[in-house]
Amino acid sequence: MLFSKKHRIITLVPAVAILLCLFMALPALAKSEKKPYKIGGIFAVTGPASFLGDPEKKSMEMAVDQINAAGGIDGHMLEAVIYDTEGDPSKGVMSVNKLINRDQVIAIIGPSTTPVTLAVMPIVQRAQIPFISCAAGNKIVQPINPWVFKTAQSDIQAVATIYRNLQSRNMKKIAIVSVENAFGESGREQLLAQAKDFGLAITKAETYGAKDTDMTAQLTKIRQDDPDAIVCWGTNPGPAVLAKNIQQLGLDIPLYQSHGVASPKFIELAGTAAEGIMLPTGKILVADLIADTDPQKQVLDSYISDYEKQFNTGVSGFGGYAYDGMKILAAALNGSDGNKAKIREAIENTKNHVGISGVFTFSPTDHNGLSPDAFVMVRIKDGKWELVE
């Protein structure tokens, strides 16, 4: 034995003293400052999808600031850890791994696009982390993945909104034109699938290339069946070319567009050809036109004014996805004590959460939580949006 009994006691005394001090200090520490909740964010802040990712990142930061200013959640402050995916699935996977392993976040919001979301879903499922995507694709929530939710409206609701309008105008025959990419394909699928439910017959289902300069050939083909309306599914600039071609050919057929062109840019591109075009859009684009009685009115107004004040730029229609995600998550964090399974369950049980993109009611069979009410129909009149009843 190298140490005598006496020696051992001497070394024990300070050790016990230090331990005692620690035990006494711990509750005090916990009381004054609880560990912050770390929330991960992955958005396409740069790259081709930055028009989505940039406002989403800003909106998430704004929501976190607001929650912290109000005292956090159960005394926990929120800390956002945000990475840029550049809209690239492999970068998205890397960021998610970093968030889970290094930053040890308790929930993740984003990404901005459907391909990135689909790429990271298996990882969040394996790690069992609540995950709220800001992308639109139906495949994110169909089939249901218990840990994956999404806040953006999807094509299902947009198509239903258009079809309800067609039905109310007593239209029976329609032609559809969609762009040849993931957005157009997904819209086309929904347009074809839901037509029967609304008593509509589709006479022609044409497509166009995203970079096509002229679509008069497709229109000539469509004209032969004399449809009651044309529904176009694409993002700028294709739908504007189509609108111009319809005007040039002198076709007298009402044109419906998708929510993909719901921005002032479309009106600018299509010019006078935009007159009379109808399209579904989230309420944020027409927040000033919405009746005061609308449940979302107040949320929209405060989001828009806060956003414009904080970032000094006009509000975009897309940041709301991340804002809604953060607010829904914050509500679910209440009383969860940072337990991921509890958070997940609380998100799934969210009822009537009034957000930017609509009123969310999640359930075990619905992880998007929106109804067609999330969209309103607008008409372009004199270069401005006009609500359609």
Binding site: P48, F51, E180, E206, T207, Y208, G209, K211, D212, T213, D214, T216, A217, Q218, T220, K221, R223, Q224, N236, P237, A240, V241, Q248, L249, G250, K265, E268, L269, G271
Partner: protein
């Protein structure tokens, strides 16, 4: 009948655009035996310059048109001077890879200057579309066809009637022989680049009112123009004209009678077919070279 006529008009408009782009490919190949895969990007730059000069600055049409073309030709000259001429071993494959690289570079420049959004400008003249037997021909289409014909005739006159044009042609036939008789070959190559990119810019200028212009429009247009040039016979002006119209009209008929999903496939299937049965193109020079 009315439908077929409308498909035809649609095809002629697109075909004329492809033809103007194909002329740029062809005439550069004629003088330098080089395929400039950045040609589509010069078309894009032309369209976006026009957006700035005609759309944003509201310059008179002719001034905007000339200014755009001069800008693009200058860019082409700089490109030749900085990227093509310094190459130590100017083998075709090296030069082609350089042009591919340049196309990516130019697209980036376009994105930085004009942003990622699409832009539009009004038509050159505000005439309503012509109504011919129920089919509509747009006023801009007429503009495009007139400018295409003027370009071809102008080039033809330049090659056959002017000394510079003849020198260029001589240089194309045999660089060495041309050098012996005192034709400055470097000068001729530079001139060819300037002319070819100017025509590319012109293509951009005339299609800007028809379509929406954005930084990423060039690649597909360049490929279609290349297809048209190959179809008609690379190096031949009339071949470029024929190839362009053939491609445009077949595409439109393909959309009308087969499926709109096959529109782009039509172009490339046709190209494969022509390369298989007649590698030199429809109006081919005596011997065809394959890369």
């Amino acid at each position: 009948m009315q439908e077929i006529l409308q498909y035809l008009f649609s095809g002629i408009t697109n075909g004329a655009i492809y033809a103007v782009i194909a002329i740029g490919f062809s005439m550069l190949y004629n003088s330098t035996e080089l395929i400039n895969f950045a040609h589509g990007e010069f078309v894009m730059l032309g369209a976006l310059c026009m957006v700035t000069f005609f759309g944003a600055l509201h310059l008179p049409l002719v001034v905007a048109l000339v200014a755009s073309i001069v800008c693009i030709a200058a860019t082409g000259l700089v490109f030749e001077r900085l990227a093509i001429r310094p190459v130590r071993h100017p083998e075709p494959i090296v030069l082609i890879i350089i042009t591919v690289g340049a196309s990516i570079f130019l697209r980036g420049i376009g994105m930085i200057i004009w942003g990622k959004d699409a832009h539009t400008i009004p038509s050159f003249s505000a005439h309503p579309p012509l109504d011919i037997a129920g089919a509509k021909l747009l006023s801009q289409s007429i503009w495009i066809i007139i400018i295409l014909l003027a370009t071809i005739i102008g080039l033809q006159l330049f090659y056959k009637k002017t000394l510079t044009g003849k020198a260029m042609e001589a240089n194309a036939i045999s660089k060495r022989a041309a050098w012996i008789v005192g034709i400055p070959s470097k000068m001729m190559i530079m001139l060819a680049f300037g002319l070819s990119t100017a025509i590319g810019g012109l293509a951009g200028v005339i299609i800007a009112p028809v379509t929406m212009s954005s930084y990423d429009m060039g690649t597909m247009l360049g490929l279609k123009g290349f297809c048209a040039a190959m179809l008609g016979g690379l190096g031949s002006l009339w071949g470029a004209l024929l190839g362009g119209f053939l491609l445009g009209i077949l595409e439109a008929l393909g959309v009308g009678f087969v499926s709109s999903g096959l529109k782009d496939a039509t172009a490339f299937l046709l190209l494969l077919f022509i390369l298989y049965v007649k590698p030199g193109g429809i109006i081919s020079a005596a011997s065809a070279k394959r890369f």
